[in-house]
């Protein structure tokens, strides 16, 4: 007659973020390497030439790290005060850095002593950069000026005094030797042309600008300041394109991924957000331990380097593709595969008489035991270590099924110390999971009823029961707090909603959904 209907394993929706291509890509990094610097890491810059060393500016030093070394390859320590903004030239031979003492130093990457000293600024220099023709240096300072210097004879070429506050960031064009952009605390971003005496375009960011970034095509400009990240269209004369507000503290640093498809922003709120540059939606998020001051990506996204206020430098290297591929390849090549598919793709000819064999239905082990009403054995199977940890929903489904059959008590009873501690372990692990709680509460009550008499006989079981008690108490407190928060939110919503003419209850769409979302939704 009808066949045995197997236990239905409920499919629970995956909690948390949805798995997208981006999450897979950005999760594919190894555990970070953490290096302690001498002070807050203010700037990180990758060398444009292989092996893509990077310069880390922290306190009075600039360290240069190799791609895989955890010790600095080189360090520049001849600063009188805090150094700022160590940048490589496009050939990777020279390095320029500003300093709190208003002197700009130019180093040979292989040397130790500064090749040139550019003196002229009156206050700390936070911005230094090479122009694309390699012979000039752009600097920006707290004395509201930005200047262009000639490298060969260390002389000042031009001074621009248009900003009315500290200049903290800037970037030179990679395509045009005369164009450069500076961002200042006077809320403006200005595009200068060295061929004319003044700025060409001025954009109002609205907040003190902390970082600017040019797209590789140099048609778009990204500026960060305050909590906002703004994108400007330079080809339309500095028209604002998008304003992003995804951080809740000041955004300090910007970076583009190597293919230019993703934009990264780092903030004092300890997050790095990854945006898609097509629709400017956040596609991924990194958490760090402290406020982030600087961020840089190696070419081809080989590593993500982040510098933080607690003077920690965190380097994440991309996982090697070959390792994972090899494992997958081994799995695919099973020797029995050919045997398994033998004759499966045979198409019967027209005159063939087809004899169909009844398909033998495969049942899981616990289902076989349930079919024979071996309830204790079925529960044992479902509590096997692998299932218990990797697929708790199977254990849950079996417990639920036993409860439905009214034989849960029989299945739970008659266990020895090992069996009971296994059961309690599962209970402790999943008790506070909202999806499992309703069923586990009944199971826990039954366990307490059954094994009341043996309390005190086994220290292991006693310890676990105490843990369970702790867990329940903690959960109760937690729920109480949550209810309080919900109450507060309700009052806030009620006061913010406009009064309506119709005497409708306050539960509108926004409010109702927060309360009434179905707890589990699954697609079958």
């Amino acid at each position: 007659m009808a066949s045995f209907k197997p236990t239905k394993i409920q499919v629970y929706p995956k909690l948390g973020e949805k798995v997208t291509q981006d999450t897979l890509y950005w999760k594919n990094y190894k555990a970070p390497v953490q290096i302690k610097e001498f002070g807050a890491v203010t700037s990180i810059d990758f060398s444009p030439v292989t092996p893509h060393n990077f310069a880390v500016t922290a306190f009075t030093r600039i360290h240069i790290y190799g791609p895989f070394s955890q010790e600095p390859v080189k360090s520049f320590t001849r600063f009188k005060d805090t150094a700022y903004c160590g940048r490589f030239r496009s050939d990777g031979q020279l390095l320029v850095a500003g300093c709190e003492d208003s002197v700009v130093r130019l180093f040979d990457v292989s040397g130790k002593v500064a090749l040139r000293l550019f003196k002229g600024h009156t206050k700390a220099v936070h911005l230094t950069d090479f122009t694309s023709d390699r012979y000039q240096i752009l600097t920006g300072s707290d004395d509201y000026t930005c200047r262009l210097w000639d490298i060969p004879n260390a002389t000042e070429l031009t001074t621009y005094r248009e900003h009315t506050d500290y200049i903290r960031c800037g970037v030179t064009s990679k395509l045009n030797r005369d164009l450069f952009i500076t961002g200042s605390y006077d809320h403006t971003v200005k595009l200068f042309d060295a061929r004319v005496e003044k700025s060409v375009i001025t954009m109002d960011h609205g907040q003190p600008v902390e970082s600017v970034l040019l797209y590789p095509s140099e048609g778009l400009l990204v500026s960060a300041g305050g909590r906002h990240v703004k994108v400007w269209d330079l080809l339309k004369g500095g028209q604002p394109l998008v304003s992003l507000k995804n951080h809740h503290k000041t955004v300090t640093s910007l970076a583009l991924s190597s293919n230019g498809q993703r934009l990264l922003s780092a903030s004092l709120d300890r997050h790095v957000k990854v945006y898609s540059t097509t629709n400017y939606k956040v596609v991924h998020n990194f958490d760090y331990a402290a406020s982030i001051l600087s961020l840089a990506l190696a070419p081809d996204d080989e590593s993500i380097v982040v510098g933080m206020t607690n003077s920690i430098l965190s380097i994440k290297h991309r996982k090697n593709q070959e390792d994972s591929k090899e494992i997958a390849g081994q799995q695919r090549r099973r020797p029995s595969y050919r045997v398994f598919v033998k004759g499966k793709n045979y198409v019967p000819k027209q005159d063939d008489y087809l004899v169909s064999k009844p398909v033998k239905e495969h049942l899981a082990k616990y289902d076989k035991q349930l079919r024979r009403f071996n309830v204790s054995k079925a529960l044992d199977t479902a509590l096997e270590t692998w299932i218990r940890f990797r697929k708790p929903e199977i254990t849950m489904a079996v417990i639920k099924e036993l409860d439905r059959r009214g034989t849960l008590k029989n299945a739970l009873a008659g266990r020895d110390e090992r069996g009971l501690s296994q059961l309690l372990n599962f209970l402790i692990g999943n008790f506070v999971d909202a999806r499992f709680t309703p069923v586990l509460v009944t199971a826990a009550e039954m366990i307490l009823d059954i094994y009341q008499s043996i309390i005190g006989q086994s220290p292991l079981v006693d310890r676990q029961l105490l843990r369970l008690q702790d867990l329940v108490e903690k959960e109760l407190d937690y729920q109480k707090e949550l209810l309080e928060v919900l109450g507060m939110l309700d009052t806030m919503f009620a006061s913010s909603l406009p009064r309506k003419e119709v005497p409708c209850s306050g539960i509108g769409k926004s409010n109702g959904l927060t309360q009434g979302e179905p707890t589990t939704l699954d697609w079958v």
Binding site: V19, R404, G406, C504, S505, G512, G516, P518, T519, D522
Partner: protein
């Protein structure tokens, strides 16, 4: 109140099949079972119902093969008669009036009498008088046993009818006919282990002195040596965990079959009881087991109105399924818009689709999809609500399980209709859609709209709107869900009141939700409360009018008021408020604009138009027993009825279900006439099995016959064909076993073959006279040869001009003369 003579209440199927144990005929071709007031004859191989033996005026309480003639069957009924039928042709042979309602009856090959269980817990032997009359009265009654159990399974005949065993409560009584003596054996009320020893059923071994009894605690006892008061012995078999409901020995006595609530058929080997075969998962509790006389087929009746036919190798071969009677029909009656089938609760956890036209169960849809554990006292998942959308593409079901001291388990499931498999496929499961029981569910009824919307109201004080949502950003996700699923769209509440019912307007632009005494009307487009009505007692049911009455919103209240609000004037137009006694049931027609109202304890029905306060139709005492559910079903073809009183039946039909699980409907006279006419057309010769092949070939042969007749009419048309004579026809068509003696028939037969000369002569003379009188021929000839096709007529007409009239007349005369002579010769 207006009475309408021409609208009748008729029974249209759905009666119980499992009331009494069915009977398999000797050749194992037919299965007979009592079903309501009729006996149904099923084919064991095709599961089709072949005949219905109708004639009883009360519930049929038993069917038995006549021991002396295996082509005849007795049936007993509560109307106090025992009828004898010929089941192969469906003919009533004899009616025997006993005069008392018969609850069950038994017969044995050794006894002339049949044994009848009548009133006062007595088993009575009845002698059926042997006479040729159709209606006889049996007055020779003699009591055999008293204090017997009304359950028909509690009495059984022993080896060759030597004794009869009866069980009642804790007592087994064996009565020996030869000795006219009875022995009684008692059991203690319960044994040490706390099991209940009450007897439930009994069966006797056909060849051996052994009685098997089933008990409340699931034990089977085999009694032997019971012709002594003291030295009896018994052995115990135990497999069942709850009461054994039926026991049966195979005809040779090699096996014992038992069944119970576990829905497992067990075959015990007689004398090797440790060996047994199981047939598990038969679907529902077994109520009766019978074995065919040759032992090749078993047959089990189940509590879900089903008969399973099982081959003796313990393999199911056929299933005859009637309308399933659940414990309670919580889903109400519904119509599937696609198949026009009636949909209601069936087996536990299933929805049944029942064709009204064919009185047949189409299929069961498994909603819960869990292994059903047959155990009494276990809380099972039940389907409590179901709703179809207007096009029949979506089905929403709610199942719940309520356990003591545990949370309510609720699941809302949405099923999409699959064109390929022609059934519903699960699309979305929403576990715990609400915190409390769902009180009502309704789809937006617009067939053309792209987005389907479902609204569910719950006792937790909210109503929720569910919408079919396509998966967003499919290209971004790896695990892209390729089919759209249902998501919560809106949650609404009104001052914390509990919503009781909801209804969409015909065009889907308004949603009415009744929160106890407040009816709120929302617009689903913006989810804003547009207006509300207030009526003091709480509303129990709501519905919008249709078509021309779509501006009206109707509701019934707890204080037995039918209210009608006009939505255009936004006012509570309570003018057509009728004070009714109890609005137990309230149904709305989906096609035209009528509503019907059943008053439970008056057993009456009212049909209203929402715009008019007076009922269009009313009828008291519709049927015996309460009407539990009703539904309007659309008709396949519209009925044209000019009478205003029955106008409401033109477009749709009102079906209702009584407590006995009988489906009833209202029909008009015109419709009945039409049905009768169509059934006459379908009458065909019974001597050949009615197969599609026969229908095709038989018709063809008939035509051929006609052709041949017309061809041969030239010479044979005047014959007084012996086949046409009434007596011969009767002789040939009545089954052989009901005919009187051959000696009696012979003379009659011979007489019919003889042709009286004078008759033929006079007829002839008349014929000639007529033919001479009439100038133009052919017409008369055609009439006489009745079924001559027109083609032939045309041929004769075309031939006619070739001959002169005189020649033709001469020719015909010659033919006629010739023919009569020849015919006479042939016949003699």
């Amino acid at each position: 109140m207006v009475e309408h003579g021409d609208i009748r209440v008729v029974h249209c199927g759905g009666s119980k099949l499992n009331f009494r144990d069915p009977v398999i005929t000797h050749d194992s071709r037919f299965l007979l079972c009592a079903s309501g007031e009729a006996v149904k004859v099923f084919s064991t191989s095709t599961e089709e119902c072949i005949h219905e033996l109708r004639g009883h005026t009360g519930l049929v309480t038993g069917v038995l093969l006549r021991p002396s003639n295996h082509l005849q069957v007795y049936s007993s009924s509560l109307d106090g008669t025992v009828r004898l039928w010929d089941f192969t042709d469906g003919i009533l042979i004899k009616t025997c009036v006993i005069g008392y309602p018969i609850y069950s009856f038994y017969a044995s090959a050794k006894h002339e009498n049949i044994f009848v269980f009548a009133e006062r817990f007595q088993l009575v032997a009845v002698h059926l008088p042997q006479s040729g009359d159709q209606l006889v009265e049996a007055r020779e009654l003699s009591a055999v046993l008293s204090g017997v159990n009304p359950n028909p399974a509690a009495i059984a005949f022993g080896r060759g009818g030597e004794f009869i065993a009866s069980v009642n409560d804790l007592q087994l009584e064996v009565y020996f006919f030869k000795k006219q003596k009875s022995y009684r054996f008692f059991l203690k009320e319960d044994n040490k282990k706390g099991g209940w020893n009450t007897f439930t059923c009994v069966a006797c071994h056909p060849k051996d002195d052994c009685i098997a009894t089933g008990h409340e605690d699931g034990k089977i006892r085999l009694w032997r040596n019971f012709n002594h008061k003291k030295e009896y012995t018994y052995s115990t078999l135990h497999w069942h965990h709850s009461a054994v409901s039926s026991l049966c020995f195979t005809p040779e006595g090699t096996n014992l079959l038992s069944g119970g609530v576990e829905s497992v058929l067990i075959q015990w080997r007689y004398k090797q009881e440790s060996e047994r075969d199981f047939l598990p998962r038969l679907g529902a509790a077994i109520t009766h087991i019978t074995v065919s006389p040759d032992g090749s087929l078993f047959c089990t009746s189940h509590s879900d109105n089903k008969i399973t036919i099982i081959q003796s190798c313990v393999k199911v071969s056929a299933v005859i399924q009637g309308l399933v009677k659940g414990d309670s029909i919580r889903t109400d009656l519904m119509m599937d818009p696609r198949s026009k089938a009636l949909v209601l609760n069936g087996k536990p956890g299933h929805l049944q689709f029942y064709s009204l036209q064919r009185d047949k169960l189409l299929y069961n849809l498994d909603i819960v999809q869990q292994e059903y554990i047959h155990e009494s006292g276990l809380q099972q998942f039940e389907v409590v609500k179901a709703a179809f959308d207007a096009s029949g593409l979506w089905l929403a079901t709610v199942e719940e399980r309520h356990q003591k001291a545990a949370e309510l388990e609720l699941n809302l499931k949405l099923w999409a209709f699959d064109e390929q498999t022609q059934s519903f496929v699960l699309n979305t499961t929403i576990s715990a859609p609400h915190d409390a029981q769902i009180t009502a569910m309704s789809f937006r009824q617009t067939a053309d709209s792209q987005t389907t919307l479902l609204v569910s109201t719950s006792k937790d004080g909210h109503f929720k709107a569910w919408q079919l949502a396509a998966p967003a950003h499919t290209e971004d996700y790896i695990q892209s869900v390729n089919c759209p699923s249902w998501l919560c769209d809106f949650v609404g509440a009104y001052h914390g009141l509990v919503p009781e019912c909801c209804s969409f307007s015909a065009d889907g632009s308004l949603l009415a939700v009744a929160f106890q005494e407040v009816v709120t009307v929302w617009s689903p487009a913006t989810w804003e409360l547009t207006f509300f009505f207030f009526s003091p007692p709480s509303i129990s049911d709501l519905c919008f009018g249709r078509l021309s009455c779509s501006k009206y919103l109707l509701g019934t209240t707890a204080s037995n008021l039918l209210c009608c609000w006009n939505l255009l004037t936004c006012s509570c137009k309570t003018s057509p408020c009728i004070k009714v006694l109890s609005t137990q049931n309230f149904f709305c027609d989906s096609l035209n604009r009528f509503i019907s109202l059943f008053l439970s304890f008056l057993l009456s029905v009212f049909v209203f138009k929402p715009s008019e306060p007076r009922p269009l139709f009313s009828r008291k005492a519709v049927c015996s027993g309460k009407v539990t559910q009703a539904v309007f079903a659309p008709r396949e073809e519209m009925l044209e009825s000019c009478e205003e009183s029955s106008q409401w039946l033109n477009r749709s039909q009102l079906y209702f279900l009584t407590q006995q699980m009988d489906l009833m409907t209202f029909t008009t006279k015109a419709e009945e006439d039409r049905l009768l006419a169509s059934s006459k057309q379908l009458v065909i010769d019974d001597s050949v099995a009615m197969t599609p092949f026969y229908l095709l070939l038989g018709k063809h042969r008939q035509q051929q016959q006609e052709h041949r007749d017309s061809d041969s009419s030239l010479w044979a048309e005047r014959t007084a064909l012996p086949q046409t004579s009434a007596s011969i026809k009767e002789l040939l068509q009545t089954p052989a076993h009901v005919l009187p003696s051959t000696s009696y028939l012979c003379s009659m037969f011979v007489q019919s073959l003889l042709i009286s000369v004078s008759d033929a002569r006079s007829a002839h003379a008349e014929e000639e006279m007529e033919s001479e009188k009439e100038e133009e021929d052919s017409e008369e000839e055609m009439e006489s040869s009745r079924s001559k096709p027109e083609l032939v007529a045309a041929a004769t007409e075309s031939d006619a001009p070739a001959l002169t009239k005189a020649q033709a007349r001469e020719l015909r005369r010659v033919r006629k003369l010739d023919h009569s002579w020849l015919a006479g010769l042939l016949d003699s």
